[in-house]
């Protein structure tokens, strides 16, 4: 039954969205992390999604069943904020500490978007499951 392909497609979407939720959690957890160097400061991470064609058994790549894959995780290139905190044990020689460039508003928007998309994929899976069960009951 080729309806199982829908589970693969929706599953890839759920995996991608949960990775996005993971990066949001990581970013928010590290929003207040400080470092003693600019290079060591935490940079906001964001996953890069790309569509991927699933191969059907045999040679033909299917044009329609398109899953998602995570192409990689990028780091934000926004400026790293520096604060003058000579009392901080992490401060460098000049008394500066370097915070993360995480924007909490961006992260919350990302979180809501990711969770809604995840729910969409769950809905697709549920509907497909119901249809498959109905098909199995055919003629009863």
């Amino acid at each position: 039954m080729s309806m199982f392909k829908i589970f693969d497609t929706a599953g890839s979407g759920m995996a991608a969205q949960s990775l996005r939720l993971n990066t949001v959690a990581s970013n928010l957890a590290n929003a207040e992390s400080v470092s003693s160097t600019q290079q060591g400061a935490y940079r906001a991470k964001e996953p890069l999604f790309a569509a991927v064609k699933q191969r059907v058994e045999g040679a033909v790549a299917d044009a329609a069943t398109v899953g998602v894959k995570v192409d990689g995780v990028t780091e934000s290139q926004a400026a790293i904020p520096s604060r003058y905190e000579p009392g901080n044990p992490m401060a460098d020689a000049n008394g500066y500490v370097y915070g993360s460039n995480v924007n909490p508003v961006d992260e919350l928007v990302n979180m809501i978007s990711a969770s809604r998309s995840y729910q969409n994929n769950v809905e697709v899976m549920n509907t497909t499951k119901q249809l498959m069960v109905k098909t199995l009951d055919l003629g009863k």
């Binding site: 497609t9 991608a16 329609a64």
Partner: protein
């Protein structure tokens, strides 16, 4: 033997395959709702069904092996691009509401085809058992 059964269920056996195919396409759209540059697709159902039931005059049926009809391969040629109502900056043309609505409607149509087939089976069984 298969010919009378095909006639019995009418167009619904092919329709079932195409509804299933369409739900695959729509699931792909929903999974890629956040993929930059992804363009939503859909099945032109009328054309695909005409094609599957051999009613189109222009194009020949594509068969992976002789004597086998593959509705999914035919439907693949009939995929259309969705016209976005609200295009986004990243080139993604998936409207989640539209896809959700289409997916739900598609599920209902699938169940309708199932119901027709079930009714025919029931009728046949009544005729057999009396």
């Amino acid at each position: 033997m298969s010919a009378p059964i095909d006639n019995l269920f009418g167009v619904h056996t092919q329709a079932l395959g195409l509804w299933q195919r369409r739900s695959e396409v729509l699931a792909g759209n929903l999974a890629n709702a956040d993929t930059p540059g992804y363009q939503a697709r859909d099945v032109d159902f009328r054309a695909a069904l005409m094609h599957a039931s051999g009613q189109s005059d222009g194009l020949a049926l594509s068969t992976p092996t002789a004597g086998q009809v593959d509705p999914s391969a035919q439907a693949a040629d009939k995929l259309m691009w969705r016209n976005p109502t609200q295009p986004s900056m990243d080139g993604n043309t998936v409207d989640e509401q539209v896809e959700q609505a289409n997916f739900a409607a598609n599920g209902v149509h699938y169940q309708a085809s199932l119901a027709f087939i079930t009714a025919q089976i029931r009728m046949l069984r009544t005729a057999i058992t009396g």
